[in-house]
């Protein structure tokens, strides 16, 4: 099996790695680059725990090959805060207790970030459908939706 | 002497009785005497029996005193999720 050399940008940093042709971007992030914020909940694109933003598009990193990241921009949960300054979504998730076990949280944060980038004033229904690709088994989604609403308010005000 | 009520299945293991009068000051003594008087109950005790004293369920506090006028009810020891 021939390894593929990849040059890409992750959270603004240039990164190079060698991966196998069938290795997913999720595996590369977690196992080669130590970026374990993206989680594997299913490996089949059904849970959204591995969500990342690839060239401005929300994707499941389990459904992207590591080789495909060549020359592209990848954003993960590790890149959301700036130093000690949390992203408004991160802050609001904490304040609203929008997480219990927290395994789905990185995926939700990334999906919500993408949602608000495209729609800064979503309705509750738009938030619910916008986040339907992310499964949470703990919260019943109530506090997640409220946190996203509150973060959207905060970001519009800023 | 306290009156102890057994749940249905335990009653069968004790020979078909649902109520027993036992001289016991605490849960530990209760279990010891139950096993002495009804050897068929030993496996049940080993697997775990919970003791309800006036409606409060005790699973592990074998030192718990058994008040004379209390309602003592034996129950299966359960698992939660």
């Amino acid at each position: 099996m021939a390894g593929v050399a990849v040059s890409t940008t992750i959270n603004g940093d240039s990164v190079e790695y060698l991966c196998q042709p069938d290795e997913t971007l999720l595996e590369v992030l977690r196992d080669r680059l130590g970026l374990t914020g993206a989680k594997e909940g299913c490996g089949t694109g059904d849970c959204g725990a591995c969500s990342v933003i690839l060239d401005g598009r929300l994707v499941c990193s389990c459904l992207v090959l590591g080789a495909e990241a060549e020359g592209r921009q990848v954003e993960t949960v590790e890149g959301m805060a700036h130093g000690e300054q949390l992203h408004p979504l991160q802050q609001k998730f904490l304040e609203h207790a929008a997480l219990q076990c927290g395994i789905c949280t990185p995926g939700f944060l990334i999906a919500a970030k993408d949602l608000l980038a495209k729609n800064p004033s979503p309705t509750e229904e738009e938030i619910r459908f916008g986040l339907a690709g992310n499964l949470c088994r703990c919260t019943g989604y109530d506090k997640i939706v409220r946190a996203v609403q509150d973060a959207a308010n905060m970001m519009r005000g800023a | 002497m306290v009156e102890v009520t057994l749940w249905g299945s335990l009653g069968r293991a004790a020979g078909g009785t649902n109520k027993l009068d036992i001289e016991a000051k605490d849960i530990r003594e209760l279990f010891r005497k139950l096993a002495e008087q009804h050897p068929g109950l030993q496996p049940w005790i080993d697997r775990g029996i919970a003791v309800s004293i006036d409606g409060t369920i005790y699973r592990d506090t074998w030192s718990k005193q058994l008040p004379q006028d209390a309602e003592i009810f034996l129950l299966p020891r359960l698992a939660g999720g």
């Binding site: 021939a2 069938d22 694109g45 598009r57 499941c60 459904l63 080789a67 690709g133 | -």
Partner: protein
């Protein structure tokens, strides 16, 4: 296993045609990677077609629209002209998977995966969409309904790639719609689905109609009798009743983990009826 990213369609076709063993085309990967993960396929060669010029574009031409094989559904949803002309096709494409999957999945992939439950296919079939196929012996254009041969099988020959989907330019008074039934509100595979495409005459009567059903047979079903029911009508109650009945009757569904034969039959008719009403309204009918 090798991963290659050809820069021309000829290279892609050449590589696929000359590959001695199993090769897989990668566009969005939302089916391929799942099948690889499950161990159902182990390709020796992965041909990523996203770097081929033109495959990532939606072009509006004199004849209509040309949708490249590597265009993700999310991009279709952002194309105002396409959405206006073919709202049913776009809404079908936008129902495939989650937001995350939308950023990757393509209607060509959806077609080539050859699932009878594929969301975009009944809408494309109803729309009379055509597939442009490139292969070792050149290009050919065929109706999309002739691509799937059965669950998981297509009529494509070795080395052939679908390069683009063609949708006709819309005449006035035309509308299409797609509806599917899923148990949840998102994330499910269609239990049964219906696509309806109508054109109306000046008086608002149906001039032409195409009705397609998904997850109702081994491949997507084009129900000609249903179209006949609609033509000439203004979708009065009796016509809609007959449409539902004909569609239910045309189904050859199975019992599986997603639904029963009875359910699929009944709901195929319900969805066809509802989709027809929406398509009619979109075509300007009242």
């Amino acid at each position: 296993m090798r991963y290659i990213r050809p820069l021309s369609i000829e290279d892609a076709v050449g590589t696929l045609a000359s590959s001695a063993r199993t090769a897989a085309i990668l566009a969005g990967g939302s089916d391929l990677l799942v099948r690889m993960k499950g161990g159902f396929v182990e390709p020796d060669l992965i041909v990523d077609i996203k770097a081929v010029p033109g495959l990532g574009d939606v072009q509006e031409t004199a004849e209509g629209f040309r949708i490249g094989a590597a265009v993700p559904s999310a991009v279709l949803g952002e194309n105002t002209a396409l959405k206006k002309a073919w709202p049913g096709v776009v809404e079908a494409a936008r129902l495939i998977g989650s937001k995350q999957v939308q950023g990757r999945c393509t209607i060509v992939g959806n077609l080539c995966n050859a699932s009878p439950a594929a969301d975009s296919v009944p809408a494309m079939v109803a729309a009379g969409a055509k597939a442009v196929i490139v292969g070792p012996s050149g290009r050919r254009t065929i109706p999309v309904e002739t691509v799937p041969a059965g669950p998981g099988r297509t009529t494509l020959a070795k080395g052939e790639i679908i390069e683009a989907i063609l949708l006709d330019k819309r005449p006035p008074h035309a509308g299409d719609a797609y509806l599917r039934f899923i148990p949840r509100t998102e994330m499910d595979i269609a239990v049964v689905s219906a696509g309806v495409n109508l054109t109306l005459d000046e008086k608002g009567a149906v001039k032409t109609a195409r009705v397609a059903l998904g997850a109702a047979a081994p491949t997507v079903l084009l129900v000609e009798e249903a179209a006949e029911v609609l033509v000439g009508s203004k979708l009065d109650e009796a016509t809609l009743e007959r449409l539902a009945k004909v569609c239910s009757g045309a189904c050859r569904p199975i019992d599986d983990k997603r639904g029963t034969i009875e359910f699929r039959r009944k709901v195929a008719g319900v969805l066809a009826r509802r989709a027809a009403v929406t398509a009619y309204q979109r075509a300007g009918g009242k």
